[in-house]
Amino acid sequence: MSLLPTTRRGADAPVSMRLGPQPGEVIDRRRTIPFTWNGEDHRAFPGDTIASALAAAGVRVFSRSYKYHRPRGLLTADYLDPGAFFQVGDEPNVRGAHRLVEPGMEVSSQNTWPSLKYDVKAVNQLAGRFLATGFYYKTFIKPEPLWPLYEKVLRRFVHAGAITPDPGEAFYDHRHAHPDVLVAGGGPAGMAAALAAARAGASVMLVEENHQLGGHLRWGDAADLAALGELRAQVAAETGIEVLTDSVVTGRYDDNWVGIAQRNLPGVAERLIKARAGTLVVAPGLIERPYVFAGNDLPGVMLSTAVRRLVNLYAVRPGQRAVVMSANPEGDLAVADLERAGVEVAAVLDARERRGVVRAHGRGGLRAVETNEGRRIEADLLVTATGWTAPTSLLNQSGDRPVYEPTAARFRPDPARMPDNVLAAGEIVGDATVEAIVEHADAVGREAARRAGRGGPAVTIPSLAPRPHPELFTAGTGGFVDLCEDVSAKDITTAVAEGYDSVELVKRYTTVTMGPTQGKLETVNAVALVAAATGKSIAETGTTTWRPVYAPVTLGALAGRPHEPVRHSPMQPWHDRHGATPLVAGQWIRPEHYGDPAAEVRAVRTGVGIIDVTPIGKLDLRGPDVPKLLNLLYVNKWSKLGLGRVRYGVMCAEDGVVMDDGVTGRLGEDHYLMSTTSSGAATVWEWVENWLQTAHPDWQVHVTPVTTAYASINIAGPRSRELLGRLTDVDLSADAFGYMNVRQGSVAGVDDCVLWRIGFTGELSYEIHVPASYGLHVWEQLMARGADLGVTPFGVEAQRILRLEKGHFIVAQDTDGLTQGYTAGIDGLIKLDKDDFVGLPELRWQRERDEHAHLVGVRPLDGSIVPPEASQILDSSGGIAGRITSSRMSPTLGRSIGLAQIDRELAAVGTRVTVRLPDGRDITVEITDAVHVDPEGERQRV
């Protein structure tokens, strides 16, 4: 039972299971490397996986199972092994039968308490009959308030490794590749296909999940090893092949975009390769399928391939006394391997002769095997070789729907459904001798190169049929279908009986195939059980969808190195040196303020301030049809914009919703400079191009984005003329350079500057656009030459206050995704008498309907209260009548002011309304004109 040791004391003393040298072993016996397992010191040979090193040391129990905390040993002895998930240092869920031991590794079993041997949660085994499938759905329903407590307990039972908040740095990377032919799988077929493609002139990438090329040849006999040696030598000699071992194709996406997780790169934890493959060759071989019977999860029950890997690759004796159930030649070879390894083979049950195992007995480990002929055989190792599963994921992702062939007891690709740029090679297609597999793959490789555009005649690919294999899925005695998820055969039949009778519903109800192996070991058995329970065939039942990723990939590798672009103006170093608080505004980093935004406001109102407005979007427009374009995109009129004049405009979308605003100046006969909001710069550029290219390709307008070609500085305040005048050759006198005019000239010795006289802040101000590389110079000159004037740099926050005092709205702050033109209060700007402009009909109907909300000024009666932005305005019945969109304390007026969107009925100036503050208090605010300071606009016109 659960609290007993998992192996007998006394017999528990570690016995070395390491064999003498094996012909194909991958370990290096010349030295050993230390690591720890659950705190105990161990040693491994280089080349050992964690699991092989532990198995060599006599460890039989590696983990506790998901739901019932049953002891588990090795099943497959490869990447998929559900019994060998370990915590390695701060890395959870390490595939212990794949990961190589590294010096000093701290390996522990996951989710066992207090220890692997004495796991208290194994009481779940006792309760097992009550924890059957659907358990959670049927219980903890009432009383309702207790469910959160139950849930907390459930979460304690989560079966997994742990992460830590501070795991340290690791380096990840991305790479792009464009191989003509990408071969997924480095067994004999993959190697042969890669060679043929490369010899046909293709650039080839050969990707193998294991640490060495060779597939099953690696654990084969002398002939296999000789063939492997020959293929490896040829691959190594072929310069057109790039070999990636310990790497795996994770998914095939549209147009042969292929993801590869590369794990063998020194210094890189994992690298994601994104390959645009000409042709993808899928050559993954076959995965051995477990057999389902009572006790099939006991430590000591293994697949034939696991035994062959342990013996031949790692020189590990997998047990002392074995029973082998074999339905195929590979199983028979495992018998030979066992005998060579000195394992006593107590019985071979030939499944082709309908002999087989029905139950495995033992507690904490296999003790005896019960056969279908009623024999009970003492053994600590039971080997099954009952069939194969074709890992068709990449083919499914390519559009293929593999077809079940009962005579071969496995699914096979359906070439008719595969796109031209995907081919399958090797055992996934059919079975044959190594020579015939190589011959088939050679043809596939040549055809792959041809389809990738490397020329040559069409290749006839020889047929490769699967050999007959008995259909062996379950002994019908129960047992586990999914060792990752602890899903039993009975769970499957129960689910079907309860009405969850399609394979997808069974998957979701029982969680079969949803664990870390993602169904590679489990799906076909589950399908067979569903088919049996529903009375349908396996072909009719079908499989669940094989989704990416084929093998788990770290988030680090997927993310790669972070490349989040940041934009800043040429003056940012100055801002940084002068204590600017940074503000993240989209991609831009800008100064929010330099310490005291209110002081910055006062400086602008009384003296002069300068602000870096480089992020403002700027489009250089040239051509005779620019006025047509402006007339179309802006709601106001543009045909009569004189040379040297600047005009403000608002753009609406076709639904009448305000999308952008800015000024445009006419620099020459056919030359204009348009400005946009900072956040709208990219959108407006694409918008302009859209109208020009798709609606009016005949218009002659050339658009050049110049946002970052210019550094932009606004010089604002009553003394701005005086300051700028010291630096420019442009005549700034009121007569020569009036409000809403544009001039070009030099500033601080820099030629080709554009000067706009505009007034976002409400003060006399000049916005200058200087060639970007001189931006810092001009800024520093302004600061130096204006020192006696008290020139003050100001940031975005002061600008927000200044514009709010002046009643200018900000698109997307004071407007939202449904704010149409008349709501924004630009009634005077909208010219419905124009023949056309974007959004015209909607604005016409908005005005006709006259039901819209209004953007208004607001002032709290108590001017010391600044209602937070987004505070809601209530109507007399407590409903929402609007909201405060902008709100600040005005340094100029010494009181709080704001803008608000409010229902039409309450929008009249002088109306008093209730505002609910976030803290729950209600205050009264009065509706005012939007312009709080200098409503006549005299200050900006001086």
Partner: protein, 425 residues
């Protein structure tokens, strides 16, 4: 609740019944829902066996006494968005209409397990929407204020409180996207999505509804401006009432009835990681980074993002989705870099111009729609079922969905949910 009445042929689920079944292993559970022959006529036919269709059938049979109801699904129940979403529930919407509607849904979810006698595992672990810049923080305040006025528990909290709720979040100020604050919504959480589907199916079945899987609608019969039946791969059905509840496939069905709808189908992708021990209690959403994250009771992290950048019916998923989501998750929680993505998938979303659903009658009499759910459909399952059942039974949509009619697009009265909806999970 009257669910007890309906379970005549059913075995009630409880801890005790579970023990009883455990002790007597031969006594199997009955089918959760039964199979039926396709009848030649039904009082109402609901197309789409997702949570919306099944919930509508359940309430229609339970509350409106309409028993001859068929739910048709071209595959298996829950095979569409209901089984592919990230199972996040919340009601912290932006518009009063949206908040009221989803609040009703959350309240129905809170008692759904008891109502359906099926544990849907609603875990109200709290929901955080992070703000990384001024404008999103302003939107969080806006949503909070609207929520509070509708009686919904929301507040804006600062980085220190956020750090307490989610210690793995990097709340330092020097990141590329610093966390300035968050909209905290304690009633939000996650639910077991399949269980909601199955619970409604079982409940509907108990009230006499026929659930027909593998039954694909191939045509809708309309005569003199009213619906008379549907054609299926298993034969015709005559019926005076048809509901289109097919989400991503909605326009294909409505087109059969000659009803145009402002709906575009976009894939929405999601992914899970391998499980790790629980470390994340709340749902974390970042609109700026286009990501939402939660940890299931199994220990997996579930990731979602905004819909794919172009319309498609392909559910194959993309590598760039996983790259983007991983990058953004690590931006928020750098310590997760060793976690491994295990599986990705996609569902289809029926996007509307104003990110709000289309519910109610259409110009074809008897043909109703419950579509346009975009990325929010699962959250609205119970309330939509309740409201659509009332609509189908009376022919008139109830007040709670009156803002969501199809005619709003010709009247130009869109619902303003788009502002908060860039990534709204």
């Amino acid at each position: 609740m009257s669910s007890n009445n309906g379970h005549g042929g059913h075995s009630r689920y409880s801890a005790w019944s579970l023990v009883r079944h455990g002790l007597t292993p031969k006594s199997g559970w009955p089918r959760a829902w039964r199979e039926h022959d396709l009848e030649s006529s039904y009082d109402a036919v609901i197309i789409g066996g997702g949570v919306h269709g099944l919930a509508t059938a359940y309430y229609l049979a339970r509350d409106h006494g309409m028993r001859k109801v068929a739910v048709l699904d071209k595959a298996y129940i829950g095979s569409g968005g209901s089984g592919r979403n990230t199972a996040i529930l919340r009601s912290n919407y932006l518009t009063p209409e949206g908040v009221r509607f989803y609040d009703r849904s959350v309240k129905l979810y809170e008692h759904l397990a008891a109502d359906l006698n099926y544990n849907v595992m609603f875990s109200q672990r709290g929901h955080l929407t992070l703000a990384h810049n001024d404008s999103s923080l302003r939107t969080m305040h806006w949503r909070t204020e609207v929520n509070k006025l509708q009686g919904v528990d929301s507040s804006v909290i600062g980085p220190d409180e956020i750090k307490k709720l989610v210690p793995y979040l990097d709340t330092s100020a020097d990141t590329r996207y610093p966390i300035l604050g968050a909209l905290y919504h304690p009633p939000g959480g996650i639910v077991r999505h399949d269980a909601v589907v199955w619970g409604y199916a079982r409940g509907a079945d108990a009230h006499g509804v026929h659930i027909h899987q593998q039954t694909e609608v191939t045509g809708i019969d309309v005569s003199h401006g009213r619906v008379t039946g549907v054609q299926t791969n298993r034969g015709p059905i005559s019926t005076p009432v048809v509901l289109n509840a097919t989400a991503g496939w909605a326009t294909l069905i409505s087109d059969m009835a000659g009803v145009s709808m402002p709906v575009q189908t976009f894939p929405l992708q999601a992914a899970v990681t391998e499980p790790v021990r629980p470390f994340l209690d709340t749902v974390v959403v970042s609109g700026t980074l286009h990501v939402y994250v939660s940890q299931t009771d199994r220990g997996e992290l579930v990731f979602g993002a905004s819909v794919d950048p172009f319309a498609s019916y392909s559910m194959r998923g993309s590598l760039e989705f996983t790259e983007g989501i991983a990058g953004h998750v690590l931006e928020l929680m750098p310590a997760l870099h060793r976690m491994k993505l295990l599986r990705q998938w996609a569902g289809l979303c029926d996007m509307t111009p104003d990110y709000s659903p289309i519910m109610g009658p259409t110009p074809v009499e008897g043909f109703y729609v419950d579509v346009g759910w975009g990325t929010y459909g699962f959250k609205a399952g119970p309330v939509s079922g309740e409201a659509m059942a009332a609509t189908l039974a009376s022919g008139k949509p109830p007040e709670i969905i009156s803002a969501f009619g199809l005619d709003r697009f010709t009247d130009g009265r869109l619902v303003g949910e788009k502002g908060a909806a860039a990534v709204g999970h």
